[in-house]
C-alpha cells in the first residue's frame, strides 16, 4: 500500500521502531475493514441470532482499529501516553473480537478469516507497545 511508502517520506518521523510501526498500521487497516465485512456477513446469515455478540464486537473492533490506525500513522509531535493507551485499547478490542470470531470459525469462513486478522493485529499492537517501552 502507498501509505507505507508515504510515511517514510515524513520530514520529522517519530523515534518509534519503523518496522513495528508499519506493521501496526497495515494490520489496523486490514483488521478494521475485515471486521466491517465480517459484521456485515454475519447479518446475512440465517443464524444471525447466534451472531449478535460477534457483530457487536466486530463493530467495536472496526472503530478501535480505525482510530488507532490514524493516530499511529501520524508522526508529527506525538504524545506517547496517548499512543500507548490507544494501541493497548486496540489490542483489547482485537483480542475480544478474535476470541468471539474463533467460536464461529467452524461454521462461517468469514469468522475464521476475521479471527486470523484480529490475532495478527493484536500481535502487531502488542509488539508496537513493547517498542515504546
Amino acid at each position: 500500500m502507498t501509505v507505507l511508502d508515504l510515511i517514510k517520506t515524513h520530514p520529522q518521523p517519530t523515534s518509534l521502531d519503523r518496522d513495528a510501526l508499519l506493521r501496526c498500521i497495515a494490520e489496523c487497516l486490514d483488521c478494521s475493514a475485515s471486521c466491517t465485512s465480517c459484521a456485515d456477513a454475519d447479518l446475512a446469515e440465517s443464524d444471525v441470532g447466534e451472531l449478535v455478540r460477534c457483530i457487536r464486537l466486530c463493530l467495536d473492533c472496526a472503530d478501535a482499529c480505525d482510530a488507532t490506525g490514524r493516530i499511529v500513522t501520524r508522526q508529527t509531535a506525538p504524545d506517547l501516553r496517548v499512543l500507548r493507551a490507544m494501541v493497548e485499547a486496540c489490542a483489547a478490542a482485537c483480542r475480544a473480537c478474535g476470541e468471539e470470531c474463533e467460536r464461529h470459525a467452524a461454521h462461517h469462513e468469514h469468522c475464521r478469516l476475521c479471527a486470523e486478522v484480529c490475532r495478527r493485529c493484536e500481535q502487531a499492537c502488542d509488539d508496537l507497545v513493547a517498542t515504546i517501552g
Copy 2:
C-alpha cells in the same frame, strides 16, 4: 440530543451507571466535533506554525472520542475490558489535547473553548471508568 433518549429504549441495556454513561456519550460527541473545529481554526491562524502540536493532538482526540463514543453507545453484549481500555485511552487523548489547547487559550478563543470541552470529556471518561469497577 435524540440519541440520549434513544439509548433509554434499548431492550437489553448494560448494567453500567446510566447517568455516567449518558454524560460520557454526550461529552465524546461534543469533544470530537470541537477538536475537529479547533484543528481547523488553528489551520487558518497566521501563527499556524506555533499550533502544529495543537492540531495534531486535536486530530488524535477527535478520532479517539469518535471511536469511544460509538463503543460506549452500544449496549448489546459488551466486553467490559474493551470498554474500559477505550474509555481510558479517550481520557488520555482528552488530557493531552486539553493541556496543549490550554497553552494557547490566551491567544485563541477556540483553543480556550476546546480545552474546556476536553477537560469535561476527560472527567466524564474517568467517572465512567470508576463505575465499571
Copy 3:
C-alpha cells in the same frame, strides 16, 4: 454544544449561511449517534432477523453523517464541490435509513426516534445544499 460556539470563533469562516451550517452540523452529530444506537438496539431485539436491512442502513447512515459532519465543520479553504457532494450523499443516507426505520416505528420506539432524527438531518442537509447554490 460547545462545538457550535467554537465554530463562531474561526478566524476565516466560509461564506456559507451560518444558521444552515450550524443546524447541519448539530443534526449530523445527533443522527450519527442515534443510528449507531438504533442499529445496536435492533441487534438486541428478539426479531433481529426482521431488522437486518434497518441495521445495515443505520450503519451506513452513521458513517455518512460522521464524515459529513466533520467536512461541514471545517471552515478553512473549503472545496464547495466536495462539500455539496458529501452533503447530498448524507441526505440520501438519511432518507434511506429514515424510510426503513419508519417501517418499524410502530413496533420499536428506537426506530421511531431514529426515523425522526434521520428526517431532521435529511432536511438540514437539503437546506444547506440550497444555500450553496
Copy 4:
C-alpha cells in the same frame, strides 16, 4: 489484504461487479490512510503555511474514503442510491485532494505519492459508479 478474501465468503453478495467493488474498497483504504499521512507530513514541513489547503483537503478526503470504504464493503441489503451518492462524493473528494497535492508534488514527495493514490481512488470510484448504471 484479508478483507478482499473475506468479502468473497459473504452468504448473500450484492449484484455489483466484484472486480470493480474490490478495487474500490482497496483504493479507499489506501487513499484514506495516505491522506491522513500526507496531512500529517504537511504539518511537519517548514512551509506549513503554504500547505493549509492541502491539509484541509487531505482531512476531508480521508473522512470521505473511510465512510465510503465501509459502505461499499457492506454487501447485505444495500440501497443503491446511497451507494452511488457516496461513491460519487468520494470521487469528488479524491479529485479535489489529488489536484491540490499535485501542485506540491515537485517540492514534497509525500504530496506526489498522495496525488497518485487520490487519482487511482477517483478512477476506482468512477469505475464502480459506471457498473451501478
